[in-house]
Amino acid sequence: MNLLTIIISTVFVNNFVFARFLGTCPFLGVSNKMETATGMGIAVTFVTTLAGIITYIIQKYILDLLGLGYLQTIVFILVIASLVQFVELFIKKMSPTLYNAMGVYLPLITTNCIVLGVAILNIQEGLNLIETIVNSAGAALGFFLALVLMAGIREKLEIADIPEALTGFPIALVAAGLMSIAFQGFAGLI
């Protein structure tokens, strides 16, 4: 598969939030402010790409060789959980500035289904290492894009006059629905 096609596909056409519904919880949870959205976006991109590479190596060189494919889910989630912990410790030591920017979002990432979802999809679709890296980064960037766009909209929504029952979460979902329609327009692109 062409690498450019993978990027366009994961960021726009099959955007993980709008078309595949992965990462919807943090997408709606942290998209109310532009600043938090950016921090979360960076953290997710970083962890997803790293997790994609590591899980790929584990699958190819440990699970497949030992015939333990059925342990995939449990091994992957443990890898991701420890990776997140490790990254948190590492960044805290190395760069306090970076830690301030994305530190608080790191613990939330373990349960972000994009990370585990992409790791499993990479294997299922039989991608090679380079494609895995591009696919993971693309998926996370798609999430990042969705998050930032949404934050922009929600900052405006705060001052809009909305029926009481729809305030907060429901109206954010409606906005997400409309954006999802917009993203469907990319479908003919590849």
Binding site: Y70, A187, G188
Partner: protein, 191 residues
């Protein structure tokens, strides 16, 4: 240090128990899954050739040769009844509106299409998604494979199949793959 060691041991124990439980359930389910997967790969084609009793992948060198000038083809099988080859089955991948369309198709040795089936796609439900369903699927069955298949709102000629209204790109996507299989069949296998 002592505490870390203890925590590590507890975690290891939990993982070991879970691994044991999973190994047991795997040993129960693995043979059944293997059986189903074998049937599954036959299943899609089995529909087209109810009489068939065996399917054999064609020679790898031949497949590589065909794939080198036909980008749609992914897999080719000889369909056999006893020793006699009664048809060929193809798996193709082509571009649709929402990504790859994976289709399987079967061709009889008299040159007619035994049937097609879209097994995987990302088309819009109820629009392009209709490529999975009748009457689209059925409009291929029995058609002659000698000429290129073309879409039509009301198929009548021997090379016309149904154009799903509102889903031209999806229809043409499927057609591209099936035409690829058809070409490979006529050029290589139909005497």
């Amino acid at each position: 240090m002592n505490e870390t060691l203890k925590l590590g041991l507890v975690l290891l124990l939990v993982c070991a128990i879970s691994g044991g439980v999973l190994a047991v359930s795997n040993s129960i389910t693995a043979p059944i899954i293997a059986e189903i997967e074998k049937e599954g790969s036959m299943g899609a084609f089995g529909e087209f050739f109810p009489e068939a009793d065996d399917m054999v992948a064609v020679d790898e060198a031949l497949l590589a040769d065909i794939m080198s000038n036909n980008s749609f083809i992914k897999e080719i099988y000889e369909v056999k009844k006893g020793e006699e080859i009664i048809g060929y089955a193809f798996k193709t991948v082509s571009n649709g509106y929402g990504g790859d369309i994976v289709a399987v198709s079967g061709f009889n040795m008299d040159g007619t299409i035994a049937g097609i089936k879209v097994v995987e796609h990302g088309e819009t439900p109820n629009l392009g998604g209709k490529i999975e369903e009748e009457p689209f699927r059925g409009s291929f069955t029995g058609k002659n494979s000698a000429n290129e298949l073309v879409p039509s709102e009301a198929p009548s000629a021997d090379n016309e199949v149904l154009l799903i209204s509102g889903a031209t790109v999806s229809t043409k996507g499927v057609l591209a793959g099936i035409n690829g299989a058809r070409e490979a069949f006529v050029d290589n296998f139909l005497n």
